[in-house]
C-alpha cells in the first residue's frame, strides 16, 4: 500500500514539469489561433471563388484537388477515419486505402460544390479546444437559412491544416468513420470489403465525371 502511494507520488512529481511545459505550449498557441483563422479565411475565399466561377467542371475539379491537398491534412483524416482497423489492414491494404481515400475525398468535395453555388461565408471567432483550433463560420446559400460551419485546424508538420469540418454540430470525419466502420463490422471485421466498396464508389464517380 505504502509502496503504491509512493509510486503515485513519484508519478505526480514526474508529471509536474510536463504539466509546466504544457502550459508553455498553450501560451505559444495564441499565434496558431490567428494563423488558423486566416487559413480558413483564405481557403474559404478560394473555395467559393472556384465554386462560383464559370470554369468547366473538369477545370474546377483540378482546382479543388489542389485546394484540398494544400489545405487539408488528408493523410491524417484518412487514418482517423479508418481508426482501429488501420492496424488490422495489411501494408498493401493500407497503401491501397490511402490512395483510394485521397481520390474519393476530391470527388466528394467536387460533388458537394454544386450545392454551394452562390454561397457566401462569414468568418467568426476562433478558439482552441480539445480537438484543435476551431474556427466558426456562417455559410449562407441563397434561399436557405444560414448554416453554422466550424473548421477544425491543427498544426501538422509545422503547417496549419484542416482536420475536420463540423456542419451544424455534425463532424464530417466522425460521420465518415462511423460509415466505414459500419461496412467493416457488417463484414466480420474484414478491411477488404471496405476497400472493394471504396473502389466501386470511385469507379462510379469517375464514370459520372466523364459521362
Amino acid at each position: 500500500m505504502l509502496m503504491r502511494r509512493r509510486s503515485v507520488m513519484t508519478a505526480l512529481a514526474a508529471a509536474l514539469p510536463i504539466a509546466g511545459s504544457l502550459g508553455l505550449v498553450t501560451t505559444a498557441h495564441a499565434d496558431d489561433v490567428s494563423t488558423a483563422r486566416s487559413l480558413i479565411q483564405s481557403t474559404g475565399a478560394k473555395l467559393l471563388s472556384v465554386i462560383n466561377s464559370s470554369a468547366k467542371d473538369s477545370a474546377k475539379q483540378e482546382q479543388l484537388r489542389q485546394l484540398v491537398y494544400g489545405s487539408v491534412d488528408v493523410d491524417g483524416v484518412a487514418r482517423f477515419v479508418l481508426g482501429r482497423y488501420w492496424r488490422v489492414a495489411t501494408p498493401a491494404q493500407q497503401a491501397d486505402y490511402m490512395e483510394t481515400f485521397r481520390q474519393l475525398l476530391v470527388y466528394a468535395v467536387t460533388a458537394q460544390a454544386s450545392t454551394f453555388q452562390g454561397a457566401s461565408m462569414k468568418v467568426g471567432q476562433a478558439a482552441e479546444r480539445d480537438m484543435g483550433i476551431v474556427v466558426d463560420t456562417a455559410v449562407t446559400v441563397p434561399g436557405k437559412p444560414e448554416t453554422t460551419v466550424q473548421w477544425v485546424v491543427a498544426t501538422i508538420g509545422g503547417q496549419p491544416k484542416i482536420i475536420d469540418i463540423i456542419a451544424e454540430g455534425t463532424s464530417l470525419r466522425i460521420t465518415e468513420r462511423n460509415d466505414y466502420a459500419g461496412v467493416i463490422s457488417q463484414h466480420g471485421g474484414q478491411v477488404q470489403p471496405l476497400l472493394d466498396a471504396m473502389h466501386h464508389q470511385l469507379a462510379r464517380f469517375k464514370a459520372n465525371a466523364t459521362g
Binding site: A111, Q112, Y180, A181, V183, G189
Partner: protein, 267 residues
C-alpha cells in the same frame, strides 16, 4: 383525435413486440471492439437494420415520389412559406419545452416569434420574427428530458419515424399530446385539418430534404451507419446548444453580466 392516440399506440406495440434480434456483443478479450460496440450503443442493430430497409422502401416508393411531385408543382418560395406556416403552428410546443428547460430567453424568443408571425406574419405565412432578431431554434420533449438528466439509451430505428432512441421516442409521444392544437375542437372538420397538417408537414419536410438525403445515400458506403451517426451527433449538438445558451434575462439598459466565453457554439 382518439384515432391518433390509437395509431401511436399501435406503432409502439409494433416496435416493442416484433422483429426481435440482438447484435452479438464482442468478447472481453477484444477491448477495442467492445469499446466501439458500447460507443455505437446499438444492441438492436439487426432489427434496426431491417426497419431501416423497410423505411427505405417505404420512402423510395411512397414518400419520396410524393415529395418529388410536390416539389415539381409547388415553387420554392411557396414551399418556404408553407414551412414557415407549419413551424409557426408548432411554436407553442417549442415554447412549452423552452419553459420546461428553464431557458427563459429561448421561451421569450418563441413567444415573440409566435405573436409577431401570427399577426404581422399573416398567420405564420411570413417569418417576420427572424428578420427582427428572433430566429427559430430547436426544442422538443426529447431535448427537455436530456436537460433534465435522462440518458439517451440505445439507438432505435422506428418504423415510419426513422432514427430515434427511447428518450426521443418518449419525447415524440409527449410532443404530440403537448401540442395545444391536438386538444382544440371536436368533429370531422377538426380531425381532417389535423390529418392534413400532419400530411403537409411530412411532404413539405421530405421535399426540403430531397437533396440532403439523396446525397447521404449516394456518398455513404453504409447509409444506415451514416444516418445513425448523423442523428446522434445532431441531437447531441441540439442539446448542447440549449445547455450553452446562457443569455441573461437582464434588460438592455441595465449593466450586463459577463458574456459567454469566445468560441462557444453559436446558439
Amino acid at each position: 383525435m382518439k384515432s391518433r392516440i390509437w395509431a401511436a399506440a399501435t406503432l409502439a406495440a409494433f416496435v416493442l413486440t416484433g422483429l426481435a434480434g440482438c447484435a452479438t456483443k464482442p468478447p472481453a478479450s477484444d477491448p477495442e471492439a467492445l469499446a466501439a460496440y458500447k460507443q455505437n450503443d446499438d444492441p438492436l442493430e439487426p432489427m434496426n437494420r431491417k426497419l431501416y430497409a423497410f423505411n427505405n422502401a417505404l420512402d423510395t416508393y411512397a414518400m419520396k415520389p410524393v415529395a418529388q411531385g410536390y416539389k415539381a408543382v409547388v415553387p420554392r418560395p411557396v414551399r418556404n412559406h408553407v414551412g414557415d406556416f407549419l413551424s409557426n403552428l408548432h411554436t407553442p410546443v417549442v415554447f412549452i419545452n423552452d419553459i420546461l428547460e428553464a431557458k427563459s430567453r429561448r421561451a421569450g424568443d418563441s413567444l415573440v416569434r409566435f405573436v409577431v408571425n401570427s399577426t404581422v406574419g399573416l398567420g405564420g405565412i411570413f417569418d417576420v420574427a427572424t428578420g427582427l432578431g428572433y430566429p427559430s431554434h430547436e426544442a422538443d420533449f426529447g431535448i427537455t428530458l436530456a436537460i433534465w438528466g435522462v440518458g439517451t439509451g440505445p439507438f432505435l430505428y422506428l418504423p415510419v419515424l426513422g432514427p430515434s432512441d427511447p428518450r426521443d421516442a418518449a419525447g415524440f409521444g409527449v410532443g404530440i399530446v403537448s401540442d395545444p392544437f391536438f386538444w382544440v375542437g371536436e368533429g370531422a372538420a377538426v380531425t381532417a385539418l389535423g390529418y392534413s397538417r400532419t400530411a403537409v408537414t411530412i411532404v413539405n419536410t421530405r421535399a426540403d430534404l430531397l437533396k440532403p438525403i439523396d446525397e447521404v445515400k449516394r456518398m455513404a458506403l453504409d447509409p444506415y451507419a451514416t444516418f445513425r451517426s448523423l442523428y446522434r451527433q445532431h441531437r447531441e449538438a441540439a442539446i448542447q446548444a440549449v445547455r450553452d445558451d446562457h443569455r441573461a434575462t437582464v434588460p438592455d439598459w441595465f449593466p450586463q453580466p459577463k458574456q459567454a466565453p469566445a468560441g462557444a457554439l453559436a446558439p
